[in-house]
């Protein structure tokens, strides 16, 4: 039943052997030492400060959607950094290994990476950036913000939420382990048939790739179901569909995509696994296999996935622009329609990833036109954001700068996307770095939106704002880096440079590659600026304390909750009366009204079960990668057993009494009164009464007797 392996195998350790540890690799070995030392140091510090109990009780076993979201974002940021280092390595190799006279070190003929190692680096870069950086970051924000925006206490399934997080963490650990044990896939992040077949890739790299992807797909599907049910079932009274904030709408459309498309990925990779483990012939070159079947199946997931990551980013921009333009979002209904149009069309465009497959003019025309259709709803969104800012009272806060940066990136990426939608052009630039520059522009939209959101929602989660100055420094450094890296990349694409070159044969391209290397250096500075930003903000956290509405002009329901949001979100469920509920309450002087009384509320209990199962999925992935059958079977059986045990135990949750709730609320309100409204926006300042749509008629409410906290700003 199982295939014959080309290398060694033993029943106890599978393919694992000492020679699979790259202790002689001059790049990985020092890194491994650094990681071990760092881990020991971290564990030592936690032990020294006696934080294990805190870590266990407050984070590792939590089912609180905000903490899970924060952990998703931490995973995303760490993996974003790892992916960035991969990018840096790719750029350095290309600028170094340029022309026949370039030198080579560490066993490479040119540059410092051997072709096999270079292949692993770009494969890991792509997989990590899309599935372990962008996806967890966005899922993290959806986790934190969506339940508060709809006035819910938690997600529909808090335990499933924790499970999704720990499975994602398992995937991240699995791909990190591949650095030091064995190797990673060299076939690109999306894989090619038949090079990933066992015959051509006999190592464990492709297996790591399969199981990392499978775990992220599983985690994202579980998270997607949870978010969908949360949005459908958990909305507060009065939160009708057309009062939902746009971020909720885009989360809804994005997760419909996730739910329906990730299974296609799981099947595509499951079939690759069948080929590699069972010896089937789905994608083999012989025995009737079909190579392009893989590519089709993969991109049937792959293209919807692109919109799965871009739609929440659009939602984030739709929250940031109105807040800092002091106007309601322009064209709310069209924004909703555009989100769903994009989600719908996302299913009809996958073939534009391989127009050169040779499908014939009818098929290519269909997918070309479908691809161009995407431009219509996206254009609607761009104009809506522009009109939101038009005649608004714009504050160029750091979050707003990132959102505007995202808008510009979207214009560049969108325009080049329209060019690529035309098969005639696509044939010319297929597999060139022009395509790479295009989709990096698009993914930068997401990165810009994410950093904008980090700044925008940070005070909601942690209770203090990030330092504006350093956030802006980081923005400008990041933008300079983006321009320096990707403008030359577009040009090189037109000059015919293909992607994934471990050796760049044309010396005429060298100047451009040097500019890109400078751009990477500037990116490094922006990473440093981010670290400084975090340090400065945490140092000055008392000064930067934020009130419930951290920006003074926020509009949606999450800003009605305290900052930081208590674990129960809202002590009493708010009744929603309008779209942009907070702005509406502010206009009518009702944003500081407290509930009259508090009643008992029911909360889910913490559980370590999700962590255990997540850890076991890692063991399962590792066991399958190395073909350690007893370990794989044992961990799978343990996962099923734990699920059954949990189903017998159940989760009754616990009750917070009304009196206890009242005490906590009173304390939160005291803190809130001290912190409210200290944010002074860029130069212009804010005026008591706060501005509303198209003008400042809040003053007509008189002295605003309900809102004493705003006096004296």
């Amino acid at each position: 039943m199982l295939v014959q392996l080309p290398g060694g195998w033993n029943p106890l350790l599978g393919r694992l052997a000492l020679d699979q540890i790259p202790y002689d690799n001059p790049i990985l070995a020092p890194l491994f030492v650094a990681v071990v030392v760092g881990t020991i140091l971290l564990f030592g510090l936690i032990t020294y400060y006696r934080k294990w109990g805190y870590l266990w009780k407050e984070w590792l076993t939590t089912v609180d959607h905000k903490k899970l979201g924060v952990m998703y974002i931490i995973i995303g940021l760490v993996m974003l950094f790892r992916g960035f280092i991969d990018g840096l390595m790719i750029r350095t190799q290309q600028v170094w290994a340029n022309g026949p006279h370039s030198s080579g070190v560490f066993g490479a003929l040119h540059g410092y990476l051997t072709p096999f190692h270079f292949g692993q680096v770009y494969s890991a870069h792509g997989l990590i950036m899309i599935l372990l950086a962008a996806t967890p970051l966005l899922v993290g924000f959806m986790n934190i913000i969506v339940p508060i925006q709809i006035g819910a206490r938690d997600m529909a399934y808090p335990y499933l939420n924790a499970l999704g997080l720990w499975i994602t963490a398992a995937a991240a650990v699995l791909i990190m382990i591949s650095l030091f044990v064995g190797d990673f896939a060299h076939n690109g992040w999306f894989g090619y048939a038949p090079i990933f077949e066992l015959q051509y890739s006999p190592g464990v790299g492709v297996d790591y790739w399969i199981w990392t992807l499978q775990l992220t797909a599983l985690g994202t599907t579980l998270g997607g179901i949870n978010l969908l049910v949360t949005i459908i079932k958990m909305r507060a009274p009065g939160m009708t569909w057309f009062r939902l904030p746009i971020f909720v709408w885009t989360s809804l459309s994005a997760n419909i995509i996730a739910l329906t498309s990730f299974p296609a990925l799981q099947v595509a990779l499951g079939l690759v696994a069948a080929d590699r483990y069972l010896g089937s012939h789905f994608f083999t070159a012989g025995f009737g296999g079909n190579l392009m079947l893989y590519t089709n199946l993969f991109w049937i997931w792959g293209h919807p996935e692109v919109y799965f990551v871009i739609l929440p980013a659009f939602g984030m921009m739709s929250e940031i622009f109105p807040t800092f333009s002091e106007k309601p979002l322009f064209g709310y209904v069209t924004m909703v329609a555009a989100s769903f149009a994009i989600a719908g069309v996302s299913w009809m465009v996958w073939l534009h990833h391989f127009f050169t497959m040779g499908a014939g003019p009818q098929v290519n025309s269909f997918f070309s036109v479908a691809t161009m259709l995407v431009g219509i709803p996206t254009g609607v969104k761009v104009f809506n954001w522009a009109f939101t800012m038009y005649r608004g009272r714009i504050t160029y806060s750091a979050a707003m700068l990132w959102a505007i940066g995202a808008l510009f990136m979207l214009l560049v990426g969108g325009m080049t996307g329209m060019m690529l939608a035309i098969p005639a052009i696509n044939y010319m630039v297929h597999n060139s770095v022009f395509v790479i520059a295009h989709f990096h522009s698009m993914l930068l939209v997401i990165v810009y939106a994410i950093f904008g959101s980090v700044i925008f929602w940070f005070p909601k989660v942690f209770g203090f704002r990030l330092d504006e100055y350093w956030a802006k420094v980081m923005f400008w450094l990041f933008t300079a880096g983006s321009a320096l890296v990707f403008v030359p990349m577009y040009m090189l694409g037109f000059m015919g440079m293909t992607r994934r070159l471990d050796y760049v044969f044309n010396p005429a391209w060298h100047p451009y590659l040097e500019v890109m290397e400078v751009g990477i250096a500037v990116y490094c500075l922006s990473v440093l600026a981010f670290v400084v930003l975090l340090y400065v903000s945490i140092r000055d956290r008392v000064k930067n304390r934020a009130g419930a509405d951290a920006w003074g002009t926020a509009r949606s329901l999450e800003w009605l909750a305290h900052s930081p949001v208590p674990f129960y979100n809202f002590a009493v469920t708010p009744h929603v009366n309008a779209r942009d509920e907070l702005a509406w309450r502010r206009e009518h002087g009702m944003d500081a009204l407290e509930p009259e009384r508090y009643v008992d509320i029911h909360m889910p209990s913490n559980t370590g079960m999700a962590l255990y199962i997540g850890a076991l999925t890692f063991v399962l992935g590792f066991g399958l990668t190395w073909r350690i059958w007893w370990l794989s079977l044992l961990s799978l059986a343990a996962i099923i057993l734990l699920m059954i045990i949990r189903s017998f135990r159940g989760d009754d949750g616990y009750i917070i009494t009304g009196a206890e709730l009242e005490r906590m609320e009173k304390e939160a309100l005291r803190n809130r009164a001290q912190a409210d409204g200290k944010y002074v926006s860029g130069g212009r300042g804010q005026v008591a009464g706060t501005a509303i749509a198209y003008g400042r008629n809040g003053a007509s409410m008189g002295g605003d007797p309900f809102n004493s906290s705003r006096d004296g700003i």
């Binding site: 039943m1 529909a156 399934y157 499933l160 599907t221 179901i225 949870n226 049910v229 079932k233 958990m234 009274p237 009065g238 009708t240 057309f242 009062r243 739910l259 329906t260 498309s261 299974p263 296609a264 799981q266 069948a274 080929d275 010896g279 089937s280 012939h281 789905f282 083999t284 012989g286 025995f287 009737g288 296999g289 079909n290 079947l293 309601p328 709310y332 209904v333 009493v572 469920t573 708010p574 009744h575 009366n577 309008a578 779209r579 942009d580 702005a583 509406w584 309450r585 009518h588 009702m590 009204l593 509930p595 009259e596 009384r597 508090y598 009643v599 099923i640 189903s647 017998f648 159940g650």
Partner: protein
């Protein structure tokens, strides 16, 4: 539409909903499980697509084709046992409506036994095919045939484990929110597997036999 989307008159506004107790647990869980089943349906849709692509004559690479190795009458016994299993499950659910715990458990036991029969027939079929030298390694067409049918069989296997767990839970706890909600989800799961089997039987066995 106004800037505030059907905002209510501020003088009549209700700001807090003290008595709001949120959602109905069973309906929330059922919706989530239904959505999971949609994604499960997508898994089978993708597998059917792969089977469709890999069922041309060249995909069998000169080896045996389904018209030579499938036996619709044999497989029809599988169809009957799975459908009877679903029927037994439905009888059990009808008993649950009457708060008849014994009736429910006999329904579940019936579903379990008939499901085991289905799985045994499937395993026997695979063993016979393997004896004729038809495995996943024979050709791409055989790979698609075996993986599609065995992914369905794996669903049945996990469904049987679930039925066992539910028999234990209903016997020890009776009808609680947890057990009733899970029985409703399991019913959806079991029905979906039967529906998918209809497609497997028609498109893989009947169509394969006739082509």
């Amino acid at each position: 539409m106004s800037a505030h989307g059907n905002a209510v008159d501020p003088k009549k506004a209700v700001l807090w909903d003290t008595e709001y107790h949120g959602h109905d647990v069973i309906s929330t869980r059922s919706l989530g499980f239904f959505l999971y089943l949609l994604s499960d349906g997508m898994i089978f849709a993708t597998l059917f697509a792969a089977y469709g692509v890999l069922s041309y004559s060249h995909n069998y690479f000169g080896g045996p084709t389904p018209s030579q190795f499938v036996h619709p009458w044999y497989t029809f016994t599988q169809t009957v046992s799975l459908f009877l299993s679903v029927l037994a499950y439905g009888m059990g659910m009808a008993a649950m409506k009457n708060r008849n715990r014994g009736g429910l458990i006999s329904g579940l036991l019936g579903a379990l036994v008939l499901g085991v029969v289905f799985l045994a027939l499937d395993v026997h079929d695979m063993a016979v095919l393997a004896g004729q030298g038809i495995t996943v390694a024979t050709s791409a067409g055989a790979s698609a045939f075996i993986v599609l049918t065995q992914v369905h069989a794996a669903h049945i296997f996990f469904g049987l484990i679930w039925i066992l767990v539910m028999i234990a839970q209903v016997s020890s706890r009776g009808f609680t929110t947890d057990t009733v909600g899970r029985l409703l989800s399991l019913r959806m799961f079991w029905h979906l597997q039967a529906i998918i089997w209809v497609f497997v039987y028609v498109f893989v066995y009947l169509w394969g036999y006739m082509s």
